[in-house]
């Protein structure tokens, strides 16, 4: 056998219908009670009157009479055996039979459906996707009751053989997009695939990698509304984040909650997110540009206040901002990775030492702390976490530009981003649509 002497391979010899048999399976992919109740017991109780016949015919008989509730197949190809066993099948060999009977006995411990952790809503369904692709498909299927809903199965990863499902609604989803997605998934060569995040780069348009073009969600309601909106979902086994293509700029500012509330509240929240996006992008660079080059733009009293606070600060405004931003980035990274138990210690060190004490020690000014805090908080307003974290990178670019060219640099940087955004296309859809619709592009 190719499995060597791995400990979890069970080789159970048993006697059924008067013949010697061998049952082999992985104990780690099923449970003992399941095997006992649904496989071994029916086999042992099988009446002996089946005996005496041809062994292959016997296996067929056993499959139909004893194991009819389980999905099973007869196979004489031994080379598929290792793969089947790895998928949670049990193989039953019978004395004198050329074929073996493969029975699906997979029973895995999975996380139950819980509330999503990274995309919260106050009002709306609280179910979130789990790591099990089957559960995820079931969450979608139970929401969209139509005979047109399709799941297509693929496998990605030489070693992991991760199951990947394309979900779409036939006749709704764009055939051309569907063809491209299929092609990408089929031609994908990877050694391993553990999360849908690694798959995102597949669907990225060539040469445009600054902004995400794949939406991800761990909320079934959000995915279902996208499916009904003629898009395609990619479910990756082992990942609670379901990908949705094609995604445009607008999608990253929408939360499913917008539709569950009074429309004005939803509209307001959406506008707020755009404003917060702009704030988190340009506030620190505007601060640097204006206080170092364009003091005449600030009202006198505000400038007096800024000047009074910056009195005695040893660093130029750029260094000050970069210091605080870096400190915050480290805090944020530490906050995400650290064990939950030490969380309080970090927040005390962060809030007190870096914020309050730095101001009192005269290393940074109050207004600088306000600018950085506003920026950081604004960047978390985006409903999709990855989008907010992308902006951070541009923010540093803009701060640097602002530090040596002032407002011209900020405007230049924003113009470059704008040009990039309006040139982007994902699966034939302009990224900035519907804003750029007048140029002849189609909208999803």
């Amino acid at each position: 056998m190719t499995f060597g002497d791995t400990d979890d391979l069970a080789l159970v010899s048993l006697r059924f219908c008067g013949k010697e048999g061998l049952l082999c399976y992985f104990t780690t992919l099923t449970s003992a009670s399941f095997m006992m109740n649904y496989v071994i017991q029916p086999l042992a109780q099988a009446s002996d009157d089946l005996a005496g016949e041809d062994a292959t015919a016997l296996l067929k008989e056993v499959r139909e009479r004893c194991l009819s509730g389980l999905s099973s197949e007869l196979s004489d190809q031994l080379h598929v055996l290792p793969m089947k066993l790895g998928r949670g099948y049990a193989a039953l060999f019978a004395e004198g039979a050329r074929d073996c009977l493969l029975v699906d006995v997979k029973e895995l411990v999975t996380r139950s459906v819980e509330e999503p952790t990274s995309q919260n809503v106050i009002r709306g369904p609280k179910e979130g996707f789990t790591e099990s692709a089957a559960t995820n498909m079931s969450l979608i299927r139970r929401r969209i009751v139509t005979d047109k809903l399709r799941f297509e199965r693929y496998e990605i990863g030489e070693k992991t053989r991760t199951e990947v499902y394309l979900a779409y609604i036939e006749e709704e989803a764009d055939e051309e997009v569907l063809r491209q997605v299929r092609e990408q998934v089929r031609s994908c060569r990877m050694v391993s695939l553990f999360d849908s995040g690694s798959l995102e780069s597949l669907f990225r348009p060539r040469g445009y990698w600054l902004f995400p073009t794949v939406y991800n969600s761990e909320r079934p309601d959000s995915v279902c509304s996208c499916l009904l909106d003629k898009r395609i979902a990619v479910i990756v086994g082992g990942s609670p984040f379901v990908l949705i293509v094609p995604a445009i700029f607008r999608d990253f500012f929408q939360s499913p909650e917008d539709h569950y509330q009074w429309f004005l509240v939803g509209l307001f929240a959406r506008l707020l997110r755009y404003v917060a996006f702009l704030l988190s992008l340009v506030v620190p660079s505007l601060y640097v540009a204006i206080t170092s080059y364009h003091q005449e733009l600030i009202p006198t009293i505000l400038l007096t206040s800024i000047a009074a606070q910056r009195e005695g600060i040893p660093f130029p405004a750029v260094i000050e901002i970069l210091l605080m931003e870096a400190a915050f980035e480290i805090l944020r990274e530490a906050g995400t990775r650290m064990p939950r138990l030490v969380g309080q210690a970090i927040s005390i060190a962060g809030a007190l030492v870096l914020g309050e004490a730095a101001v009192q020690a005269g290393i940074v000014s109050n207004i600088n702390v306000i600018v950085v805090a506003l920026t950081v908080i604004s960047s978390y307003v985006a409903p999709v976490y990855t989008f907010g974290s992308n902006i951070r990178i541009f923010r540093y670019g803009l701060i640097l530009l602002a530090s040596f060219t002032g407002l011209y640099g900020v405007i230049l940087g924003c113009a470059v981003l704008m040009i990039h955004l309006s040139r982007m296309e994902t699966f034939g859809v302009p990224y900035m649509s519907p804003l750029s619709r007048m140029l002849g592009g189609k909208t999803p």
Partner: protein
């Protein structure tokens, strides 16, 4: 691979930009100081003596609690021109100057009598000085005294002056619009002469030296608004009181609101009216070679106080008050115009401008001698003020019993 090359190109370009630009015009806020006010007066040997008010940011923001001390520091430089003194400011001051936040430019009356153009030119050329900086004339006292008046609470002199002038103009109309923009307009426009706000100081400025102004509830010295300064071209020729300035604003249509106290008939004391709206229709025509000016002044207000027991719960009472008010305003207006005609002989009202706009052909031949003609002009005024209410009471409370 392509992405990596792109990244390197980008980084190289960014580094080149950063290194080549060298931040040549970078000004750190904490290494520079704001220039907030300028006072110009004559110096020795015909030179200019310019006082600069430089903000000490920590002192001007006492709530920050970091620094203390005076909000502003005054530096005086003498030089052949204002530009000369301004460029030599670092002779005395340790920080870079940011001239973009100048609020007030105070001009000594001795300088103003010689003409303003020479140094307004500097102010107009500079891209840093804003169009809404206040130009004021210091009446009776040296201009630099204005900037020496301190008030508690971190309010420095130029801030105080600006806010005081602005509020007084809006609330009462006792000072004309006096921004750099208004100066430019008045100089360029045909048939109107320049007026600027005039301020003076009461009390003893030198008392501030010992910081006593902060300890006492009664200010040792204070800036007071003196009305308007009247110019012929760009030379100062005299002043108008705040009451006359109010009429000037009324005729120009720039009076936002005011309070008028007028005598009641039969010497029964005074009544006062808060005027919320006032407007003047001007008609200027040439008759027999002289301008004939007709004014129709209309206004609306609320009765504030009333000394006598007039029946203001009836229409007749209001009508009597309206008539008294209108008559009083008519007298004031005619008197004021008459004084300007006789004493200064310059058209500060813009009657010539009106003629220029409405009857250009008639104005064109007389534009050179307009001020002389204005001095001889016949003026008529009809005034109609309406009193729309008497606030919470009608008749005075003691009479109601």
């Amino acid at each position: 691979m392509k992405g990596v090359r792109w990244l390197w190109t980008g980084l190289t370009l960014a580094a080149a930009c950063a290194l080549l630009s060298g931040c040549w015009d970078l000004t750190e806020v904490n290494r520079s100081a704001l220039l907030t006010g300028v006072a110009v007066e004559p110096g020795k040997n015909g030179r200019h003596r310019v006082t600069f008010e430089v903000l000490n940011a920590a002192g001007a923001m006492p709530s920050q609690g970091q620094g203390s001390g005076v909000p502003t520091v005054l530096y005086t430089v003498e030089g052949n021109s204002i530009a000369d003194t301004a460029s030599r400011l670092n002779e005395n001051v340790e920080r870079l100057m940011m001239p973009s936040h100048v609020r007030v430019i105070v001009i000594d009356e001795r300088t103003a009598r010689k003409g303003l153009n020479a140094f307004i030119d500097l102010v107009q050329r500079s891209r840093y000085v804003r169009e809404d900086v206040l130009l004021l004339i210091a009446k009776d006292v040296p201009a630099s005294d204005m900037l020496q008046v301190l008030s508690p609470g971190g309010i420095y002199a130029s801030w105080k002056i600006q806010s005081q002038v602005e509020n007084f103009r809006k609330e009462w109309g006792g000072v004309p619009l006096s921004r750099l923009f208004d100066y430019t307009q008045a100089i360029l426009v045909e048939g109107r002469d320049l007026t600027l706000g005039a301020i003076t100081v009461i009390g003893n400025v030198k008392a501030n030296d010992k910081g006593r102004s902060f300890q006492s509830a009664i200010p040792q010295s204070n800036v007071k608004i003196a009305g308007a300064a009247v110019f012929r071209d760009d030379r100062l020729i005299g002043y108008l009181s705040i009451y006359e300035t109010r009429i000037l604003n009324l005729i120009r249509g720039e009076l936002e609101q005011t309070g008028v106290a007028f005598p009641l008939p039969n010497h029964e004391g005074h009544a006062s009216v808060r005027v919320n709206r006032a407007h003047t229709h001007v008609r200027v025509a040439m008759k027999n070679g002289l301008p004939y000016i007709r004014l129709r002044i209309e206004g609306e207000g609320q009765l504030n106080s009333l000394d006598a027991d007039l029946p203001v719960h009836k229409v007749e009472g209001f009508q009597a008050l309206e008539q008294a008010l209108s008559e009083y305003m008519r007298e004031q207006t005619l008197q004021m115009i008459g004084r300007v005609q006789r004493q200064y002989g310059v058209d500060v009202f813009g009657f010539g401008e009106h003629l220029y706009r409405h009857r250009y052909r008639e104005f064109q031949p007389i534009r050179k001698e307009w001020n002389a003609l204005f001095a001889k002009a016949k003026v008529e005024a009809s005034v109609k003020f309406v009193i729309t209410g008497s606030e919470l009471k009608n008749r005075s409370i003691r009479k109601q019993q």
